[in-house]
């Protein structure tokens, strides 16, 4: 699974992209958030309040209930502020 981070999420983690091997128990975006938050303090801080974040799977905006699988590109970012 490829994870992408943007804006302050990218800055706080100090990286914009990483490849991960999530366990089979990670089936949704929510599961992925919980798994990442348990990894270390930086992730725990970012995902402490998931309402501040949005997610996309394979370039589509999704809810945190959306499914994720091994070959997906999953992105986490704050609400968008372009225009």
């Amino acid at each position: 699974m490829t994870l992408l981070y943007f804006a302050w999420v990218r800055q706080k983690l100090g990286k914009g992209q990483e490849e991960i091997d999530a366990p089979a128990s990670v089936r949704t975006v929510n599961d992925l958030i919980a798994w990442l938050a348990a990894r270390d303090a930086a992730y725990a801080e970012i995902f402490a309040d998931p309402k501040r974040l949005r997610a996309a799977v394979n370039h589509d905006h999704v809810s945190f209930e959306a499914p994720v699988s091994a070959n997906d590109e999953v992105a986490f970012f704050p609400p968008v502020t372009g225009g």
Partner: protein
């Protein structure tokens, strides 16, 4: 036509490029860097273009349009610089105005761009969410 680019754009040239058979109206909206702080704009390459294209298609389904151009700049932008251009061509003004507004409302709330102003990430505005909801 959809472009995400560092370079500035020429509003008159983009408007002229939309003229053609049956075009009786071109509505353009230009977003400009306000205030005194420099902006830095970041985006999600691949998703940005796809998200904008999806909304251009939605606008084309909704109104009889004869051409649409969306240009969004990224990178460092000085006060007064152009940020975004939406230009819509139609036979009459009503669809051109409406589609232009529709596209801007969705660009503000759905297209994956993030703005940093003077080193601080901008917060999303609830008023932008409300504006986009009127098209649901």
């Amino acid at each position: 036509m959809i472009r995400v680019q560092h370079e500035d754009f020429d509003i008159a040239a983009e408007s002229a490029a939309l003229q053609g058979d049956g075009v009786g109206a071109v509505a353009t909206f230009t977003g400009i860097v306000r205030g005194e702080a420099r902006l830095t704009l970041e985006h999600y390459p691949g998703m940005t273009e796809r998200e904008i294209a999806r909304h251009v298609e939605a606008a084309q389904t909704r109104w009889p349009l004869l051409g649409v151009t969306v240009i969004h700049r990224i990178g460092k932008l000085a006060p007064g610089a152009n940020i975004v251009l939406v230009a819509v061509a139609s036979a009459h003004r009503e669809p051109a105005f409406r589609a232009c507004e529709f596209l801007m409302d969705y660009l503000k709330t759905r297209a994956p761009f993030w703005k940093q102003e003077g080193g601080v990430w901008a917060d999303a505005k609830q008023s932008d969410e409300e504006a986009a909801k009127r098209w649901d």
